[in-house]
């Protein structure tokens, strides 16, 4: 067992724990906090079914962003869809035997990797080229793009330039999942890739990546427009009411 194997095994356990604990805490916190008033951005669906459709359009198509700005939508949508594809492609390193659909999408995953980096490049370029977006960009906005671009580029390099021992990498991750550690190859490109991925997993609930769970809890999007039909009252507001003479 090499030092690198032990280090990366512990790193991924720690990152995973930080991510899960943070996310569970955040999601529980969002769910516990009441939304005392009906504030959907109207026109809004009037039924729960309609709200589900609205959320699906927001999550799957970025509907509001599409209305706002075609360039941001194009790069943002390209990046997210590509990332999803790449993540699905990576499932093959965590499943044995590999699920049939994961095997089926393998060739597309490569394009996904390229599109992901291209989308990130577009988003990043806007932070420099568009005055308004340059103004609002913070250091962490750039770092987040650097992190994601680093992951994408190191991954692509392993595919197209310097192959890594992918069989051993898979054995390492399956070993992590089964608590039966296996040696990790120490190719520098792989270690860079894995370090950045672990970092991304770890900071997920402590950064603006919270936009992912946040969207589902956004009252402007997830509330049905039915305040006349149904009385909506938060527990603290109800307590206020009871306290009155």
């Amino acid at each position: 067992m090499t030092a690198a194997t032990i280090f990366y095994a512990l790193l991924f356990y720690a990152a995973f724990l930080l991510c899960v604990i943070g996310l569970v805490y955040k999601i529980a916190d969002y769910a516990r906090t009441p939304a005392p008033l009906k504030i959907p951005t109207t026109p809004a669906p009037t039924t729960a079914g309609g709200v589900v459709l609205r959320m699906l359009r927001e999550v799957g198509l970025f509907e509001s962003l599409f209305k706002a700005n075609l360039w941001i939508w194009l790069f943002g949508f390209m990046f997210h869809v590509a990332l999803a594809l790449v993540l699905m492609r990576h499932l093959r390193y965590f499943t044995e035997p590999v699920w049939f659909w994961v095997a089926w999408i393998q060739p597309f995953g490569i394009y996904g990797g390229l599109a992901m980096v291209a989308g990130l490049a577009g988003l990043w370029a806007r932070r420099f080229l568009v005055e308004r977006i340059r103004y609002i960009s913070t250091f962490s906005d750039h770092l987040m793009l650097a992190l994601l671009a680093g992951i994408g580029i190191s991954g692509l390099l392993m595919k197209f330039v310097a192959h890594t021992d992918i069989i051993s990498v898979k054995a390492f991750f399956l070993g992590l999942m089964r608590f039966d550690w296996q040696p990790l190859p120490t190719q520098p490109l792989l270690l860079v890739h894995l370090t950045l991925v672990a970092l991304l997993i770890a900071i997920f609930p402590y950064s603006k990546l919270l936009h992912a769970p946040g969207l589902f809890f956004s009252p402007g999007r997830n509330q049905a427009d039915n305040p006349r039909e149904q009385r909506h009252i938060a527990p603290w507001a109800a307590a206020l009411e009871k306290a009155k003479p």
Partner: protein
């Protein structure tokens, strides 16, 4: 403080996103409420000692009470979708009027005190201590947001700057840094019953003189009853309707509709205000206390239906919040929506053929319609989403022959605020109001030039007051703006004399 110079930007034919002018509106801030105004509604009279800790504690309190605030402060990724959507940004070029930058004024403090990353790596994530400079910036720029929610339409996460502005105002009120205009008005409602401080006898006098004028004009006994027990409908309308022009023409329109349809109705002195500035300052308790007057008046007068006059934010509070704040309304007639907008009522009567129009009475007008922000993006009319757009337009089309739409990006859910909403309709902010009206004025100019539009109908007292004041700065006639029920009033058939 010397009055700021009021400068209207030039009107361009196509909307142009301005070049950033940092600090362009740093001078614009409202008068601070004095101790008497503050204390009258339960806020500290002046900036409290230890205000910094109290403000942070208040933010913590709000984060526990409002899920929206918590999610909105976490979720922003600085994508920039909102950056060119705010009318104040478009009119001033001040980067802090970009919605995301406005939000960040509060977000940076939230990050510093409430997030792990902001506590340990403030520089990295743009977290900042709450200093006097930051507080002054809050006072400046959260009073340059009209809470119109246009940005929230375009945000991929639905982040609503209005909620963040309201939270910031609530925090500032709680440490003694209130805004004079809004807080003084709230005090008047509690004391007299309406925003304008119009006492009962004066109101009665006004209504009687309108009745006399109507008798002379139409030969008919069109009533504007006050405190009429047992009336079927109680109308709650913005107090501007009682005496300001053009608002009063809409009030006359409501009276004619009730007269023509034969529906017994009444106004109330106790609830002589539909407006609810509790919304603007983000204070649940004040909003509830103001709304409670409506419930009390309805019970006292024994009415069966509640109808709300032409007022944007009032309709938001009535439609979206009354059931929560002062419901349930089990004592009212369940066959009608509670509350009902006056446009819903008029539209229903048109559909049923209970009222009709001589459209030629409005032939002197080429009409366009300005969607008011709170009606468009925070409420509904009728049974289907978007009814708030269709119903007022259907009424206009029924009452007038010539109707033209403004640019599609400036109407319906994408409508621009008039520039005076959210507690900004005060003289010391006139420069901001004029500049904030720019996008609407540009869209209006285009239909004035192309179609000869000479009447912009709207259903909001703030829009009417704001446009009356601002239109002349753009070389338009101030009488171009008026209510939908002003057109109804001109054209409705009242039957044989």
């Amino acid at each position: 403080m010397a009055a700021a110079e009021v400068v209207a930007p030039p009107l361009k034919q196509y909307p142009v996103i301005p070049i950033l002018q940092a600090g362009a509106m740093a001078h614009s801030k409202p008068y601070t409420a004095n101790a008497a105004i503050q204390q009258a509604i339960g806020f500290p009279g002046e900036l409290v000692e230890d205000w910094q800790n109290k403000a942070v504690a208040k933010l913590g309190d709000l984060l526990h009470k409002y899920r929206g605030l918590k999610v909105y402060l976490d979720a922003c990724v600085h994508c920039g979708a909102c950056t060119d959507k705010c009318h104040y940004f478009l009119g001033t070029g001040d980067p802090k009027n970009m919605p995301v930058a406005r939000q960040d004024l509060l977000r940076k403090v939230y990050r510093r005190y409430f997030t792990w990353a902001g506590k340990w790596f403030p520089k990295l994530v743009g977290a900042e201590d709450l200093t006097r400079e930051v507080l002054d910036e809050w006072n400046t720029y959260f009073n340059q947001c009209s809470e119109c929610r246009r940005c929230s339409v375009f945000c991929p996460y639905g982040i609503d700057t209005a909620e963040i502005t309201m939270a910031a105002k609530e925090i500032m009120d709680s440490i003694g840094m209130g805004q004079k205009y809004s807080n003084e008005i709230i005090g008047k409602v509690h004391k007299v019953g309406n925003n304008l401080g119009l006492p009962g006898p004066a109101l009665l006098d006004t209504l009687q003189s309108i009745e006399e004028d109507l008798k002379e004009e139409t030969g008919q006994d069109i009533r504007l009853p006050l405190n009429q027990k047992g009336a079927e409908v109680m109308v709650i309308t913005p107090s501007a309707d009682f005496f300001a022009e053009p608002h009063v023409y809409s009030l006359i329109g409501y009276a004619k509709v009730f007269h023509a349809a034969g529906i017994p109705w009444t106004l109330s002195t106790h609830a002589s205000e539909a407006g609810n500035f509790g919304l603007f300052i983000g204070n649940y308790g004040q909003m509830q206390k103001i709304a409670t007057r409506v419930r009390e008046a309805a019970l006292e007068l024994g009415v069966k239906r509640l109808v709300v006059g032409e007022c944007g934010h009032a309709w938001r509070v009535a439609y979206s919040f009354w059931n929560t704040l002062i419901g349930p309304f089990d004592f009212l007639d369940p066959n009608y929506p509670v509350p009902q907008h006056i446009c819903e009522l008029t539209y229903d009567l048109i559909q049923r053929g209970a009222i009709s129009f001589d459209k030629s009475a409005n032939d002197k007008y080429v009409v366009t319609f300005h969607d008011s922000c709170n009606v468009a993006r925070a409420s509904r009319m009728g049974g289907i989403p978007g009814g708030q757009f269709e119903i007022p337009r259907a009424i206009i089309r029924a009452a007038a022959n010539k109707f033209v739409e403004m640019d599609a990006d400036s109407i319906r859910e994408k409508t621009f605020c008039c520039g005076g909403g959210g507690g900004i309709l005060t003289d010391e902010l006139l420069d901001l109001r004029v500049k904030g009206a720019l996008p609407r004025m540009e869209a209006l100019k285009n239909v004035v030039d192309s179609d000869g539009v000479n009447f912009m109908a709207t259903i909001c007292a703030i829009c009417k007051a704001q446009f009356s004041k601002v239109l002349p700065y753009y070389k338009f006639n101030m009488n171009m703006v008026g209510g939908v029920h002003q057109l109804v009033s001109n054209a409705i058939r009242l039957g044989p004399k």
